[in-house]
Symmetry: C2
Subunit: 219 residues, 2 copies
DNA sequence: ATCCAATAGATTGCATCCAAAGGTTTCCTT
DNA sequence: AAGGAAACCTTTGGATGCAATCTATTGGAT
C-alpha cells in the first residue's frame, strides 16, 4: 500500500504567505523604490484581512526592506548611493569569510550544483531568471560553510540590493564579467583553494559595486 | 515666551512599546532561554490587546530573538555553543572593520564619551548596568563610522548573545580583563591608530568568545 | 493497571468593527 | 481671487469575537 507522500508541512500561515510574496516582489523589483504598500489593497489581493498583512509589513520593516511612518503607511525602502556602497562593502567583508570557511567542507556534489547554476546563469537572459540563478550559485557554495547566522545576514544584505542589481545590470556587459568571475571562483573551489576563492569573491563583489555606482553617477 | 521643549515625537505605537520592552527583557536575561511568550499574558501586562503583541513577536522573530511555532506560540531562542561561537566569529569579522573605519572620523568628544562609558563600566558591579555601559562604550566608538547598516547588523549580533555574556561573566575576573582591553582600544583610538584599534577589537571579541565557551564545556 | 479515544480547556490565527490620525476638498471670510 | 478653517474621505492602529489547532484530562476497553 502506498500513501500519499505529502503535506506534513500543512498550509503556511496567511501572514507568512504575504510576507514571502512581498519580499519576493521587492527583491525582484516588481515593487519599486518608494512605492506605497496599502494594507487594504494587499489584503484583497490575497483574500485575507489586513491583520496578516500588517504582520508581514512589520517583518519586512525589521528586515529593512520597507519603511513605515505611523498613520501614513509603508513604502519600499529607498537606498542612496551611499547606502548601496555600504552594503556592498559589508558583503565584501562577510561573504569572502563565508567562502573561506565553506571551501574545506565542499563536496564534489556541492561544486557540481554550483556549476549547474553558474551555467544556467550564463545562459539565461531574463532578468528574473538570472537574478535567481546568481543567488542559487552563491548559496550552493556558501551553504556548506555551516554558518547559519552568517548566511542569514548575507542573505539580508543581498535582499536589500538585489533589485538594483537586476535593474541596472541589464543593458551592458556586466553579466559577462560576472560570468567569468563566477567560473574563476568555481575553479578555486574545485582546487579547494579557500584563500583564492575568498579573494575572488571579494573582488567579485567590489567589482559589482563599482559597476553599479558608476552607472548612476548622479541620479 | 518659552514653549515646552517637547514631545514632537508623540506617543509611540503600542506594538513598538511592547517590542522594545520584550527585546530589552530578552537581552538583559529577564526572559530566559526557551521561556514561552503568551500573547494574552503580555497583552494584559501592557493593557493592550493581542494584536500589537503579535506584531511585536513577529518582529522579534525576524530579529532572531524568538522562535515561533504555528498554533503553539513563541519562545525565546535557545543558542547552542556552536551558535554562540558562530556569532562571536561573526562579530570578530565585522566589528574590527567598523572600528577601522570609525577611527579616522573620531572627534575628541567621541573618545571622551567612550572613556566615560569605559570608566562607568569599570566601576559598576551590577550586571544590568555594566551590560549597558559595555554596549554604550562600543557604540560611542562605532557610531562615527557612519555605517548604519554595519551597525544595525552588529547590534543584532550583540542582542543575540548579550544575555549569555551578562549571565556567565558575573562570577570571575573576566570583567577586569575586558576593562583592560577596553582601555587599550581607547588608547589606540586616541592615537588614531585604526589598524591597532581594529586588531585589539578583534582580540577582545575572540577572547570573550573563548572565555564564554570555556565556562560551559559541556552543559 | 495500561493503552487509546474522546472530550474539554487553553492558545493561537484571523476577520470584523471602531477609533485616531492624516490628507483633501469645499466653503466662508476678507 | 487668496487664505484659512471646517467638513469629508482615506488609511492606519487597535479591540473584540470567532474558528482552527494544540494540549491535558477523562473515561472506557482490554
Amino acid at each position: 500500500m502506498k500513501l500519499k507522500p505529502v503535506n506534513i508541512a500543512q498550509t503556511a500561515s496567511a501572514s507568512s504567505i504575504v510576507f514571502d510574496a512581498l519580499r519576493k516582489a521587492i527583491i525582484e523589483g516588481d515593487l519599486s523604490d518608494g512605492e506605497a504598500l496599502r494594507q487594504d489593497e494587499i489584503a484583497k489581493l490575497f483574500n485575507t484581512s489586513r491583520i496578516p498583512v500588517r504582520e508581514a509589513i512589520s517583518r519586512l520593516e525589521e528586515q529593512g526592506l520597507v519603511k513605515t511612518v505611523r498613520y501614513k503607511g509603508a513604502v519600499v525602502s529607498a537606498l542612496s548611493d551611499n547606502d548601496l556602497a555600504e552594503i556592498f562593502d559589508f558583503r565584501a567583508v562577510i561573504e569572502p569569510e563565508i567562502m573561506r570557511r565553506a571551501v574545506p567542507n565542499l563536496t564534489d556534489e556541492d561544486v557540481a550544483a554550483a556549476r549547474k547554476f553558474c551555467d544556467l546563469f550564463a545562459q539565461s537572459s531574463d532578468t528574473t531568471q538570472w537574478g535567481g540563478f546568481n543567488r542559487a550559485f552563491h548559496a550552493a557554495l556558501y551553504g556548506p560553510s555551516n554558518l547559519p547566522f552568517h548566511l542569514e545576514v548575507a542573505e539580508n544584505a543581498m535582499d536589500r540590493v538585489d533589485r538594483f542589481l537586476r535593474h541596472r545590470m541589464l543593458t551592458d556587459n556586466r553579466k559577462a564579467t560576472s560570468d567569468t568571475e563566477h567560473h574563476a571562483i568555481l575553479v578555486a573551489c574545485e582546487n579547494r583553494d579557500a584563500e583564492r576563492a575568498a579573494k575572488l569573491t571579494r573582488n567579485h563583489i567590489l567589482g559589482t559595486k563599482v559597476h553599479l555606482l558608476r552607472k548612476v553617477p548622479q541620479d
